[in-house]
Structures are given as structure tokens and as C-alpha cells.
């Protein structure tokens, strides 16, 4: 039998579900709607959207961030309780996407916030989002 640390034990108790706070700009949200609907239905994997960052484990950031909205994103991230994870969706968050030469967008999210996982795609497929979340579950299960 594997001997687990106190942290690993606690985390395994806590990780029954992942509570998500969404911070989406532009088309990011509409591309994530299929996840909520019955066809992909993210709640069956324990992914639940919450109304406040103070309850959330995971912050989803999608779409390009502007110089104004990134400040708000930082405030949201600061309000989340540890342990916290940022999942960035789409090519916008990685490179600026279509708006790589806009004066008003930020080009790379990890210059501003500690991004845990990037999900590529424009937009990412719902399955890719599940895979990213599965990696979080997997990480906790592998904790020793």
C-alpha cells in the first residue's frame, strides 16, 4: 500500500468536484456553451460553474484579454482560495490569436498570470477541455 502525505490525503478528499469560475472575453464564452449543454454535459465530471471566484478552484480564461480586462482578471485570481489553477483556452490567450497586432490586447497570458494549462484551438474542442480538467484530477490522484 502507498503511504500518502497529509496533503495528498486532504486533496484526495477535496477533489470530488472542480468548481469553475469563468472569465471570458469576446467569443470565448460562446465556444464553451456546448460543454454546459446536454450533449457534452460537464457536470457529469464534477465541473460546476460557480458565481464567485471565492468558491472556485479553477479559473477559466478564454478569448483575448485587453489591457483593461487583464487587471480585472488579476483581481479575480487574487480572490480565489488556494489551491488554485488557471486554465487558459484558445490561441488568443497564447499568442493573441487573430488579434496579435492589436494595440489593445495582451499577447501572452503567462506574462501576467501563472497559467497552469493552455488548451490550444480556435476554439478548443469540448473534449480538449475535458482532457485538461482530467489532468487536474489525475495530478491529485498521483500526489504522494
Amino acid at each position: 500500500m502507498v503511504k500518502r502525505s497529509e496533503k495528498a490525503k486532504t486533496m484526495r478528499k477535496l477533489i470530488k468536484a472542480i468548481w469553475i469560475f469563468n472569465w471570458f472575453n469576446s467569443c470565448g464564452f460562446t465556444e464553451l456553451i456546448p460543454l454546459v449543454g446536454s450533449r457534452w454535459d460537464m457536470e457529469r465530471f464534477g465541473m460546476i460553474v460557480v458565481g464567485t471566484p471565492r468558491q472556485a478552484d479553477v479559473l477559466f480564461i478564454a478569448g483575448y484579454q485587453t489591457l483593461k480586462s487583464i487587471k480585472r482578471a488579476k483581481k479575480i485570481y487574487d480572490q480565489m482560495a488556494e489551491p488554485k489553477v488557471i486554465i487558459a483556452l484558445g490561441s488568443c490567450t497564447m499568442t493573441g490569436g487573430m488579434y496579435w497586432d492589436s494595440y489593445n490586447t495582451i499577447k501572452r497570458l503567462d506574462d501576467y498570470l501563472p497559467v497552469t494549462i493552455y488548451i490550444p484551438g480556435c476554439p478548443p474542442r469540448p473534449e480538449a477541455v475535458f482532457e485538461a480538467v482530467e489532468k487536474i484530477f489525475g495530478h491529485v490522484k498521483e500526489l504522494k
Binding site: T66, L67, K68, K71, G96, W100, D101, S102, Y103, N104, I106, K107
Partner: protein, 167 residues
Amino acid sequence: MDTKEPKLLDEIKSKFNVEGRIQRERRIWISIDKERLIELCTWLKNQRFEHLSAISVTDWVKEGIFEVTYHLWSYKDKILLTLKTKIDRKKPVIESVTTVWEESAQIHERELHELFGVKFKGNSDLSPLFLEDWHALPPFRKDFDWREYVREEHYDKEDGREVVYYD
């Protein structure tokens, strides 16, 4: 064509020193000096041009002017009247029309101040809507090279991943 458009244009021409033409039914274009703008706007508002649809600025960089355009709509006569005036590009100051159309003019002028740097004298709040901490030229000016700006601000030519942005 209905007679209301020529009648209105003649009336404006007799009262103000304007150039104007009727493009088609329910569509009138007028140019006026900026000194008499507020006077004309007040008069037009009283002629039931109650709806200020939009304000826009055109940057004529070679001529050295900004052209400020007001789109007005009359619910009574169903006429779309476009009112144009020119201001100096080096000293872009114009009287605010918030005295005439109040709140609906306020937000348009605030946006144009942000994007073109035109100052609307008398507007209560011209703080930026989106461009917080902006130090470069107003971005919608024709002499603002946004691609050059982005390269300088955000990218590094030495970075192998970003060198494609310099092609």
C-alpha cells in the same frame, strides 16, 4: 420626392451660412463652420431632430484637419441629416454638443476623445473608456502606426518564436 427636404434645406441655408445638398429622399448633408455649430444644433433640435444617432471623426491627415460628423434623425419628418464640421488637426478642440443632446452626446464624445484625441469643450467626463494607462498617440489617428507600436511594446525580434511578426 416629397417637398419637406428642399423646404428644410432652404430654411437652414437662409438662417445659417451652410453648404448642403439633398442626396435622396429623407437624406440631407450639411457642412458648417465650427463657430456656428452649437447655434445650428440648437436650432435643429428645436426642429425635432431629437435623436443624435452617432458622432464620428474622420482624420484627413494630408489636409491637416479632423472632420467631425453628427448624424441626426427626426422622428417627425423621418429625415436623416448628416452635419459636418472641420477642425484643425493641430489644435483639435470643439464645442461639446452635450448642451443640446445631453447624455446621448456625452458617450460618443468620450469615445472620440479616447480614439482621436479630440477635445470636446464642455463635456463633463472625457476619461478613457478602454485605454487605461495609454501613453502613445490616440490609436485611431492615421499617423499612428499600430503595427509598429505593437512590435515595440509586445514583441522581441530576437525571440525565435516571435520573429515571424517582423516579416
